[in-house]
């Protein structure tokens, strides 16, 4: 049986394209998927039961895409829910909630900001063009 070399070449190129696309897709991490299913506390939060200004706990959900933010204000915990939307621009991606866009990165426990916490993520706001400051949250569960 004779096989047309052009067809062979086309088939192998098609297979190569499909496998490359699949592997690239597999490499792209969904930032929200890294966060759902756990309660994330700001590293350095007060001990359980107590609350000081700046303490916060985040609980992410995939469906519907939202986050429950529990923040300490005036010595008491206050809770609010924010919708999450994904974003991507200039080769970067992340999640947006509460009027800010965040880039999400998993950090190793050895990073000083993680203070030895094995499950540690960093959320950095993307500059909005209004202020020079960006906000960085170090979360662990």
């Amino acid at each position: 049986m004779l096989v047309n070399p052009i067809i062979m070449l086309r088939t192998s190129l098609l297979l190569l394209t499909i496998s490359t696309s699949v592997s690239l897709f597999a490499q792209a991490k969904d930032p929200l998927a890294e966060l759902v299913g756990q309660q994330w506390s700001i590293i350095g939060n007060s001990a359980e039961g107590t609350c000081k200004a700046g303490d916060a706990v985040y609980t992410f959900q995939a469906k519907p895409a939202q986050v429950v933010v529990k923040e300490c204000a005036g010595g008491a915990w206050k809770s609010r829910t924010e919708a999450i939307t994904p974003w991507s621009a200039d080769g970067k991606s992340g999640i947006a909630f509460g009027g800010a866009k965040y880039e999400v990165k998993t950090l190793p426990a050895t990073a000083p900001a993680c203070k030895g916490n094995g499950n540690c993520v960093r959320l950095v706001t993307v500059p909005d063009g209004k202020t020079d400051a960006t906000r960085t949250l170090y979360l662990a569960h």
Binding site: D90, K105, L107, T110, A111, P112, A113, R122, V124, V126, P127, G129, D132, T134, T136
Partner: protein
């Protein structure tokens, strides 16, 4: 009916000064508008040169930061931290001292992101590739800013 030579003389006496005044006015208007255009172009040119100089300074600060880690090693070593901090200071001086004069929103955002990334690299949270990528993005933003300035100038001309 024929016009008398006397009447013709009156007409030319009346029209000549009007034409003269009109000619002088048009000339003056042309001169003023040309001068105004020239001064606008001169300002735009000087702003372009200032931008170019500022971005050259930014580029130098970025380059200095990126060459501190020897052999482009992935993570910062203890021996490089002092030099890195010194270069970061120079970059911050650029950020606060030079850029506000020739501010461009995209360049500003890229500078903030590079500044953050330098801090993260310094703390061992991001590797050298991330830092180099941000540096490249910043220089691309500077490049685009200059291109836009040039295109705007050409459009004005």
């Amino acid at each position: 009916m024929e016009q008398t030579p006397k009447k013709d003389g009156y007409l030319s006496k009346a029209v000549t000064p009007i034409l003269t005044v009109l000619g002088i006015s048009v000339g003056a208007w042309q001169f003023t508008s040309q001068m105004s255009h020239e001064s606008k172009m001169e300002f735009s040119r000087s702003m372009y040169n200032k931008k170019l100089q500022a971005y050259e300074q930014v580029g130098k600060a970025v380059g200095d930061l990126l060459v501190v880690p020897h052999d482009e090693q992935l993570w910062i070593s203890a021996g490089d931290t002092l030099a890195f901090d010194s270069c970061l200071e120079k970059f911050r001086t650029c950020y606060w001292g030079v850029l506000p004069l020739v501010e461009d929103k995209n360049v500003e955002v890229a500078m903030i992101q590079f500044k953050d990334m330098a801090r993260f690299y310094r703390r061992g949270e991001n590797d050298y590739h991330d830092l180099a990528r941000e540096g490249m993005s910043l220089m691309n933003a500077c490049n685009r800013s200059l291109e836009q300035h040039w295109q705007k100038k050409k459009k004005d001309e």
